[in-house]
């Protein structure tokens, strides 16, 4: 039996559904020693802003049961340096999706314009869900009106597919998903991290300098899976599942509830060849389960 791994995200055709999640795969190059970047379905790079950002002061990460908190605060080299120094080194064979962060609608639009012009950028991911920054970030993602407005503004200036990344820190994620779909989002990705905190009783202080951080990793998988399922049932654009994915079984779970592709985040820290191994293991697992192509799997949960 031969297995067809291809999936589509709007006009973006992927050779397999395995993408890196923003902020957990650097600019891609960091992982080149551990596998062949050309084999990946896509590379989503660290959140990029107009100007370089230093991020939050350390400590920025803390391990939690089956998960971690991060408060990186979107440290990045800025769009200019990214386009000049990083993008050219990434392989042609793998779509590069740029995760965008800005503090205002205008900045988002400006950033989107720049990235839209960069030939090697395959699509944009709008991060309206970062809990670790004071301005912008999750505030856009918690309000359906703001989320829709921003999506609309970016879509207006961009010809490439726009993926909007949702925050789980909301009462009803379906509402936000519908709002951004209506506003023109080509793809919806979810979830970003859950707001969380850790404290050190010996120093009587928060473990993170930023006090709050975002929770990711296997611990949050059940929450992510539910939200992806719920969103898939109400929207008609493709959905990309994110949250705690580390095994092929996890990949198949997210796709079974309706995701067209997945992003692997924290699991890249568990071992740097995680994504490359998943690319190898996925067709084997599909054969075992008798899945010839994802058409017969995506959204085929029997409820």
């Amino acid at each position: 039996m031969s297995v067809d791994l291809r999936v589509n995200l709007s006009s973006l055709n992927l050779k397999n559904p395995l993408l890196s999640a923003s902020g957990t795969f650097g600019y891609g190059l960091e992982f080149a020693p551990y596998g062949d970047l050309k084999t990946l379905g896509g590379i989503i790079v660290k959140g990029i802003s107009l100007k370089p950002r230093e991020g939050n002061p350390p400590p920025r990460i803390v391990e939690t049961p089956c998960g971690m908190l991060n408060a990186i605060g979107l440290q990045n080299i800025g769009v200019e340096k990214f386009l000049e120094e990083k993008l050219p080194l990434l392989p042609e064979e793998t779509p590069v999706i740029v995760n965008m962060y800005a503090q205002s609608g205008e900045e988002f639009v400006e950033l989107a314009r720049i990235l839209d012009k960069a030939e090697k950028v395959a699509a944009l991911e709008l991060n309206i869900s970062c809990p670790n920054v004071k301005k912008g970030g999750v505030l856009f993602g918690q309000n359906p009106l703001l989320a829709a407005e921003l999506t609309r503004a970016v879509k207006k200036v961009v010809s490439k597919p726009v993926m909007v990344k949702l925050s789980p820190n909301v009462t009803d994620i379906k509402e936000i998903a519908l709002a951004v779909e209506e506003a023109g989002a080509d793809v919806i990705s979810l979830i970003n991290t859950l707001g969380g905190m850790a404290v050190d009783i010996y120093r009587r202080k928060p473990c993170l300098k930023n006090v709050f951080g975002g929770l990711s990793g296997p611990a949050i998988k059940p929450v992510a899976l539910k939200m992806v399922y719920e969103v898939c049932r109400v929207v008609s654009v493709p959905v990309v599942g994110i949250g705690g994915i580390s095994k092929v079984e996890d990949v198949l779970e997210f796709m079974l509830v309706g995701a067209s592709a997945v992003q692997v985040g924290t699991a890249n820290f568990m071992r740097p060849d995680t994504l490359f191994r998943l690319v190898e293991e996925l067709p084997l697992k599909m054969k075992k389960l008798g899945i010839k192509s994802f058409q017969e799997w995506i959204g085929k949960l029997e409820v």
């Binding site: 902020g23 957990t24 795969f25 650097g26 190059l29 960091e30 992982f31 080149a32 020693p33 551990y34 660290k46 230093e54 991020g55 002061p57 350390p58 400590p59 920025r60 990460i61 803390v62 391990e63 939690t64 049961p65 089956c66 998960g67 971690m68 991060n70 990186i72 440290q75 080194l89 990793g217 296997p218 611990a219 580390s246 924290t266 890249n268 820290f269 568990m270 071992r271 740097p272 060849d273």
Partner: protein
């Protein structure tokens, strides 16, 4: 930019050798067939860790030769407890050598605090002229606990134990003197716990010595991707795992 050869491998445990009555142990793994610079480290993740602990753990290369990769570690928490429970034949996922080790130095003063001795074991073994090395070792546990005998007697080595606050102050004074005396004569390398490094850093900067510090920041990925391990330097916040763990003292803000 793209480094070749830093593969992620599954290594077999050859031996776990606890030092009786102490919280430290040696771990011997099958060797990596790769060159390394002392001061570099590896990330380790025993295969039986599924999700808890989630992260791998960084350890200095204490020795790496054709027979084994040696790690000298102290049991402090969940992960190191699980390392201690490994048995010969168990598998450990390992990637590295990682990061920037100590620069080449014809002569050097090595300052180590406690477990900070680990990278200097390799450095002393590899150095073509161990007689040109001077090593000052401050420790809390009895000297027998450490691989002190693994350092050639050709190295001008001196160990001093600190069990009280007073002894700690005396040791700080000793560090100060050594650094000031050595400044200008050669490079000074330091590895140890954060409070120790802070003291060393201060004297290095004051004396304008050619100093290098190895940091032990918390790490998640070890490959420069998570941005969790950053240190504050003159260039801003940079990854300890890729730009370090060894930094020029004058570059660092501790």
């Amino acid at each position: 930019m793209i480094q070749e050869g830093l593969l992620c491998k599954e290594l077999e445990v050859l031996e776990v050798r606890p030092i009786p009555g102490s919280p430290v142990a040696h771990l011997f793994l099958e060797p990596l067939n790769l060159p390394f610079t002392p001061g570099q480290f590896v990330m380790l993740r025993p295969k039986l860790w599924e999700y808890d602990p989630l992260w791998p753990r960084p350890f200095s290369i204490c020795d790496l030769n054709s027979e084994y990769l040696q790690i000298f570690f102290q049991v402090v928490g969940k992960g190191t407890n699980l390392l201690l429970a490994l048995r010969p034949g168990d598998k450990v996922t390992c990637w590295g050598p990682l990061g920037q080790g100590f620069p080449v130095a014809d002569r050097a003063l090595l300052l180590c605090g406690g477990m900070g001795i680990a990278p200097f074991i390799a450095l002393c073994k590899q150095h073509p002229h161990p007689e040109r090395l001077k090593l000052l070792f401050g420790h809390r546990l009895p000297l027998e606990v450490y691989p002190w005998q693994d350092i050639s007697d050709k190295v001008e080595k001196r160990a001093s134990r600190q069990e009280s606050e007073e002894e700690l102050l005396l040791f700080e004074e000793e560090l100060r003197e050594s650094i000031w005396q050595y400044a200008g004569k050669g490079k000074i390398f330091a590895c140890g716990p954060h409070p120790f490094l802070k003291v060393v850093h201060k004297y290095l900067v004051e004396s304008k010595a050619q100093g290098y510090l190895s940091l032990e920041n918390r790490m998640a990925c070890g490959v420069g991707a998570c941005l969790g391990c950053v240190a504050r330097t003159r260039q801003g916040l940079v990854q300890t795992c890729t730009k370090g763990p060894v930094f020029k003292a004058e570059e660092l803000e501790l």
